[in-house]
């Protein structure tokens, strides 16, 4: 039925559960460490190589540990046209002292540049973990970063 495919389940179509299993593992471990990959492989009766080949294909699977908040700035054409993209990346870089692909030393923020996130009507747009933030201005970005900085450990959504 509709329930989240269970990582415990194994059947002839077990590989079809791999993306769901990788999401579950990433949530539990925080990222897809070699141990997490091995764990998923064991559960689905796949080889770690099979699991890694899938995990490494998709940009949403993290093969490196990241910060508590993943800031994803859209650099798609529509966001660029409305002065998002490079401008917002530069502002975050200045504010947090990290370049795209990096994480702050306190483990709070990671910065990533992403392509069109189908939110062109909200351009310029960014994502913070699974939440979309649209119509971003330099002021609202400052506010958002300040708000996130003040969040307690473990509170993932704002």
């Amino acid at each position: 039925m509709l329930s989240e495919p269970d990582v415990q389940v194994s059947n002839p179509r077990s590989r079809a559960l791999l993306l769901s299993a990788l999401y579950s593992a990433q949530e539990q471990y925080g990222w897809l460490s070699p141990e997490a990959i091995q764990h998923v492989a064991d559960q689905l009766e796949l080889t770690p190589g099979q699991v890694h080949s899938t995990a490494s294909f998709y940009s949403m699977f993290k093969l490196q540990p990241g910060g508590q908040y993943l800031l994803q700035v859209c650099e798609g054409l529509s966001c660029y046209l409305l002065d998002g993209a490079d401008t917002l990346v530069a502002q975050i870089q200045k504010h947090l002292g990290i370049a795209p692909g990096e994480t702050t030393p306190d483990g709070k923020f990671s910065l990533q540049i992403v392509q069109c996130i189908a939110a062109c009507d909200y351009a310029p747009a960014i994502r913070v973990n699974d939440d979309l933030h649209g119509h971003i201005t330099p002021e609202s970005l400052d506010e958002l970063l300040a708000q996130l900085s003040a969040q307690e450990e473990g509170a993932e959504h704002v």
């Binding site: 998709y58 069109c116 939110a119 994502r127």
Partner: protein, 423 residues
């Protein structure tokens, strides 16, 4: 007077809930289809409606349904393509987030018509809100007896589940999506065999875009003639146009196919921001060739755009005003495609990167003497030399932008600087 149907619910409070949907006539089409029409009659009705796929390729939906084997002994699958990723496009997100039951109705009716007892929705990984709402909507549909065993006493069974993608543009291509649903990297498959013969898990599979399926309940309720009464000769029915970029009111606008591009930009989307001049328009998502201001009176339809050397694609309109550097627009789009190549076919894997590098050099004022020619040469040698349509998709924006705005590229090359400055 045109009356929107695909977006009729999206502004309502709690539009994603089944109570709201039912209060406005929801699931009447499912009842009518499953208890009053045969699968064959439905396939015929969709053929008569003239509905063409809204995911980009525009293949006639009823014909696709007709390709599914009729043998009742073979298990069949419906795979809903909710992996909306074409840059500039955000129409399916609207349906999924704000009217998921409309999508489910289309899915149920399509599954009944092709004899599938299992449907999967493959939703873009980034659509977390949409994923949650869809999971909730499916649970509600089960509770109300629109999914599960013996739906509405019709004897028809259907299970639907949702699978999240994980960030790969190529998975919007139907065979790459099937690979991904099987837990593999999203490398497109060679066709034939087509999914209707050998699809998910090797079973006959109908792959259909979200907006295409959303049209189905309305065709069932109002009839094929009603649907075919809108549009042009070869492009029938309503269409959601996603408008973004330099317009006053970016957003989704549901209009009949055949509506003039200029009407969409200037009337519905409120015209160009800051009273500036229009410079270029992408009519159907990033992979469709760019149009110039002289072309904006074109009707937005499959055949008219094809004739103009572009494509309707997903109907995603990206508007650029006079402050836009077209070299940068081409560079940015080329970067996207180079990043999203799945890597299987050499012309796409290597060619997309070389194309990006040439455009990047030109943009930054470090172009090599033959970089414009190189970009065109690469484009001609990537197009139609790949497994999947990604090859054509990636060269379209680059090649068309060079062809239509060549003096800007030459200025970058000769003067090592830009003719225009954004903002």
């Amino acid at each position: 007077m045109f009356e929107p149907v695909l977006t009729q619910n999206v502004q309502r409070a709690d539009s994603e809930k089944i109570a709201t949907y039912l209060a406005h006539g929801g699931y009447a089409a499912t009842r009518q289809a499953l208890t009053g029409l045969t699968p064959g009659e439905l396939v015929e009705m969709v053929k008569q409606s003239g509905l063409r796929g809204r995911g980009g390729a525009g293949f006639p939906a009823g014909v696709k349904w007709g390709f599914m084997p009729k043998d009742p002994g073979t298990p069949k699958i419906v795979a809903v393509n909710a992996d909306e990723g074409e840059p500039g496009t955000f129409k399916d997100r609207l349906i999924i987030e704000c009217d998921p039951h409309q999508l489910l109705e289309g899915t149920i009716i399509a599954s009944y018509a092709v004899g599938a007892n299992q449907a999967y929705v493959y939703i873009r990984g980034e659509f977390y809100l949409g994923y949650q709402r869809l999971v909730q909507a499916i649970a509600e549909a089960y509770e109300h007896g629109y999914l599960g065993k013996n739906i509405l006493d019709s004897g028809f069974d259907l299970d639907v589940s949702v699978q999240r993608g994980a960030g790969a543009y190529i998975c919007g291509e139907e065979t790459a999506m099937l690979e991904s649903m099987e837990g593999k990297p999203g490398n497109p498959r060679l066709k034939p065999p087509y999914p209707a013969q050998t699809g998910l898990f090797g079973l006959p599979t109908l792959v259909q875009n979200v907006e295409t399926l959303a049209c189905i309940p309305h065709i069932v309720l109002r009839g094929a003639e009603w649907f075919a009464s809108m549009g042009t000769e070869e492009s029938k029915g309503p269409k959601i146009f996603s408008v973004s970029g330099h317009v006053n009111r970016p957003g989704n606008y549901e209009l009949p196919l055949g509506t003039k591009l200029s009407e969409i930009i200037y009337e519905h989307a409120g015209g160009i921001r800051g009273g500036k001049q229009l410079k270029a328009v992408i009519p159907g998502g990033a992979s469709t060739p760019v149009l110039t201001p002289e072309q904006v009176d074109i009707p937005m339809a499959f055949e008219t755009l094809a004739k103009a050397g572009s494509a309707l694609g997903t109907g995603a309109i990206v508007v650029m005003d006079e402050s836009t550097c077209m070299v940068e627009a081409a560079r940015r789009t080329a970067k996207f495609f180079a990043h999203e190549s799945c890597g299987r076919c050499t012309p796409c894997r290597i060619g997309s990167m070389r194309l990006y590098e040439a455009l990047e050099r030109l943009e930054r004022g470090a172009g090599l003497q033959d970089d414009i020619e190189r970009a065109l040469y690469l484009s001609d040698n990537i197009d139609a030399r790949t497994f999947c349509p990604m090859g054509a998709a990636l060269v379209n924006p680059a090649r068309s932008t060079i062809q239509k705005f060549r003096p800007e590229f030459e200025h970058h090359l000769e003067h090592r600087e830009c003719l225009v400055r954004l903002h």
